[in-house]
Amino acid sequence: MPSSGTDRRAPSRGRAIGVSTRRTLWLGLLGVGLLAVLFLQVVRLSVAEHATHLQNVERFLRETRWLPAARGAIRDRNGKALAEDRASWDVLLQYDAIDGSWARARARRAALEAVGRAAWRELSPEARDAEIDRHEANFAQMLEERVLAPIMAEGAMGREELEARLSAIMTRVERQAVGYRENRKDALRRKYGGDAPIEVIERERAPSQLDAHVILEGVSPEVAFAFQQVELELPGTVAVEPTTRRVRPYDLVRATVDRSAFPTPARSSRPIELELEGVADHIVGYMRHVYAEDVAMRPFRAADGSEDLKGYREGRDLVGSRGAERTAEAVLRGSRGKVTKDLRSGEELRIEPEHGLDVTLTIDIDLQARLHALLMPEVGLARVEQYQIGWDKEGRPKSGPLPVGTELKGAAVVLDIATGEILAAVSSPTLADGRGMSRDDRVRELPSMFRPFEGVYPPGSILKPLVLCAAAAEGVLAPDERIECRGHFFPDRDDMLRCHVFRPLEGRTATHGPLDGPGALARSCNIFFYTLADRLGETRIVSWLSRFGLGARPDAGLSYVRSERVAGESAGDGATRSVVVGEAAGSVPSGGGTGAVRRDRVSDALLGIGQGPLTWTPLHAAQAYATIARRGKVVPPTIFRLLVGERPTVDLGVPGWAIDECFAGLRDAVDAGFGSGHHITLRDGTREELFAIPGVRVWGKTGTATAPPLRRDIDGDGADERVQTDHAWFVGFVGGEDGAPRYSIAVILENGGSGGKVAGPIAAETIRALAELGYFAPNTGGGR
């Protein structure tokens, strides 16, 4: 640096920086601070939260579409399809084409092109609407001619029907949209509390408002192709989708019933033509949309975002509702496929769907249909008839608790003794019958209850063979032992625990005298079985009944767990509990002889004739008799055909002589003139055998079990009366002429009265059906 001597001045290095300069530098430091804040935020996003943000943005690079899996078929034991998916095409209308949005949007586009973008920006909203209005009619006309008219033509529907359908779609969609928005608002409120942005939800379109809706179902490929052309010409109006439809071929069956072998009062040489609705519908079941509990059980998308291709999506998927569709859901369902398309490269990654597997039921649909027809009141057997009530000595008709012609509800089960396979299980009324009922009727008739598996009834006299087996096994009954029937159990009390032949108030004081086991069974002597029950005591009776299956669910394949709301003030809002439905356990007395209350001899004795706190289902009954037919070996019943493995068996250890006595007694009950199930007596006093069926041998037991009182308006005065009735049972087994029992049968008619006269004819027709279908041919052990 140049310098002079005395004029040189020292540089102003030591002078303080001015205020303005200082402030300038401070502003610079402030800028550094702001830069640091920005930098740190970028670091947080790019480093600490990089994975999260990358995953979030990458999902938009992929488009995923799901490939449906075909559901497996449900077949009967002979391979006939009872429920199956069939390929089809559906024609759908986009919701925008239904509510007018499509025409409006196309008109807007046309108006914009006509006016020009620059001019369009300058138009006021009112002016824009006016321009759109001018074009809208053209597009509405286009929609009418090229979309709606073909739909009406292909669907063979008139204008009114189309309008009604479209109106129904709009009503449903708008209702769903309201529900969707409310759910969204609730979700936001739960998540964010009082300041949730619920106003934003009002502007959202619900998924159903963005969807296409089926307007024509199951069209042919030619029609589908035609509408695909329309879809190309007018995008956004229609869509054509391949679909599968769950078809149940036996939902409606035409049948002819031969009444030539019916009891004479119901007999006709002219067969009756019937339309059977819902054959085996309880067993096969139905599909429904998934509920939240289904999703919770197996969600499609887990909390961590992973996908389960077999999982359920609420609002989208179907699930088995009941029956085999429900219990075999895991096998039938299959697994959806997935196509993930990279939107950049167009490459697709496919996971093919795994179609569901077929399941085979043990039932024979033809036999099922026959029994279904037999239980229809219009056939003539499942209703109150005079021959069931009888006539007095003067030939005047007696009156029963229910008027003649009253339709009876009931059930029937046929079980293969060797395998435990259920060949038929019919419930009347059916699910299909229920669809035509009023709400009150459904409450009274309970069509949704599958009576063979879920109907619980007092067994009545049909329990007696089990009591005999129990007594023999416990050593309280000796072989060939005879017990005297004096008409009443307690020597000094003729007003209680009486035999059914001893009715002093009616002037009947007959007794059976000394009877052995077979004789007691054949005559259904109450005294014999009061005695056995008294000897056994409740504890041992219950123990043996439990071994025969009472009080436990048979687990034949139709039971499943369902959530149901818990009622009552003690339960909180939305409280639910899990219950097992589909099969009932029945009930047996509990805690007999223990605790503060000791059951008395009367209660014990009543157990011997199947009365008291005892209930079982028709399946229990068929299964118990099958156990007797197997000489005391239990084989669990099943409605699904097992492909591999033997059925497990348990030997109850019933003495062989007791089984023999049961066989003899049950044979005499239907074959001997004194048997309770041998005949009906006609008006003129002639006897007509019930089981005179060539080529078969029948063993059976009738039961007339006291039913809970009915409330029914009998006299037509508009007020219900309390009516005491009996359930009519017939349970037994049947074999070919070779003598070995093959099939057990249980029939019950609710409130029907006499087991032999009401349930007996239906059991007989069931046996005829088995015979006609070839079930007694020499080499058809285990069914056809």
Partner: protein, 393 residues
């Protein structure tokens, strides 16, 4: 004449060759270098998603650099003279765009705002000229009047700022209007305002902010503030609605990671995530997605260098006008950068402010380069004025 230090500082008595080398060794090169780097990054980022616009941006850059060179040749004393003319012109143009009878061919509404004049080849935004004019006029005012020790001394420049801001708000262009606040604040602070006035203004703004939120802001503007406050808390309730743009931008910034991704993938991510204004207001998200934290850091560093250059120019200046011009330009562009990047990374609401030198747009790029040219013109010239710090009492 004896050489050495005099009252005017270093430059007195040096040789002509020494004076020439000192002119070229100026912090303004930091500004020019940063501006060039940011412009180049901007063209590259625009080309990621909109290649057709990248070429146009290159043309705008050439025009901007040329304009900067021309402006740099204008001596500061001539700028002082021209400042009021530029102000008058910008006010006239701001009023012009608001006049309802102006033909649509001249002033075309865009996104609901009347803010552009159609010049045929490009659109011109009067608010950009107003920013330049405001900085020059404010600097000129305080240079003449001295440090504003009283509120009365602030009346004229504050009124001027309010008038200009008011006209811009009427367009409406709230984002541009907001930038006048920090710019005016920086100028008055360096000009010597009493700090108590600054604290009073900050407190008043804090008190009036809720009033403005409830009574002044339009519903969509309030919604944007709601969205950003939720976003800052990590609350994603608005992500699929009014907060969509902010969340998408922020997520794309995060998705870039450390070093970004290739061009095709970046383009796909931006495109399929439907980021609005990806070439314009949201360009920083594209840069961060494409080049990662590295690229984002370079952008931040360049803006820091530009601001550093302006600060150093201001600190070295010996006359009030050039100091305040340097401070004003630095503050304006830094504030604009902060608002733009802040809204992209989820710290500030969406306001429609571009990223200086980087976002697509002829007006914005031209205006930024003109400001750079002014800084360069200040920097290459020897400082004038006394030994004392300007604005010191």
């Amino acid at each position: 004449m004896p050489t050495g230090y005099t009252a005017t500082g270093l430059y007195s008595g040096t040789s002509a060759r020494t004076r020439l080398s000192l002119r070229l060794a100026t912090p303004a090169w930091l500004c020019v270098g940063a501006a060039a780097a940011l412009s180049a990054i901007g063209i590259s980022a625009i080309g990621t998603t909109r290649p057709e616009l990248a070429a146009r941006q290159g043309l705008f850059l050439m025009v901007g650099v040329a304009a900067a060179c021309i402006v740099a040749l204008v001596p500061p004393r001539m700028l002082r003279t021209l400042s009021w003319f530029i102000l008058a012109l910008s006010v006239v143009l701001l009023v012009f765009v608001l006049l309802p009878f102006v033909p649509k061919s001249l002033v075309t509404p865009r996104n609901g705002a009347r803010a552009w004049i159609n010049l045929g080849a490009a659109d011109f935004q009067p608010s950009e000229l107003a920013k330049i004019a405001f900085i020059l006029c404010s600097a000129q005012w305080f240079a003449l009047q001295g440090p504003p020790r009283t509120l009365a001394a602030l009346a004229f420049p504050a009124g001027l700022a309010a008038a200009i801001v008011g006209l811009i708000v009427l367009e409406p262009d709230l984002g541009s209007a907001l930038l006048f606040g920090p710019t005016f604040l920086a100028i008055t602070v360096v000009a010597g305002i009493r700090m108590r006035f600054v604290w009073m203004a900050i407190i008043a703004a804090a008190i009036l902010a809720p009033v403005a939120y409830l009574g002044v802001l339009r519903p969509y503007q309030r919604a944007r503030i709601d969205a950003i406050t939720a976003q800052i808390r990590g609350d994603d309730r608005y992500e699929s609605s009014i907060g969509f743009q902010g969340w998408r931008a922020m997520r794309l910034v995060g998705a870039g990671g450390l070093f970004g991704t290739d061009r095709d993938r970046a383009r796909a991510l931006v495109s399929f995530n439907k980021l609005p204004e990806e070439h314009n207001d949201m360009i920083f998200a594209v840069i961060a997605c494409r080049f990662g934290l590295a690229g984002a850091s370079i952008v931040l560093a360049c803006h820091g260098l530009f601001a550093a250059g302006a600060v150093l120019l201001a600190a070295m200046a010996r006359d009030g006008f050039t100091r305040l011009v340097a401070v004003g330009i630095g503050a304006l562009l830094f504030a604009q950068m902060t608002v733009n990047i802040g809204m992209t990374i989820g710290l500030l609401p969406i306001t429609g402010v571009t990223l200086p030198f980087t976002s697509y747009g002829g007006s914005s790029l031209l205006s930024c380069w003109i400001l750079t040219g002014i800084l360069f013109g200040i920097g290459i010239r020897p400082p004038t004025g006394g030994e004392k710090d300007p604005f010191d009492a």
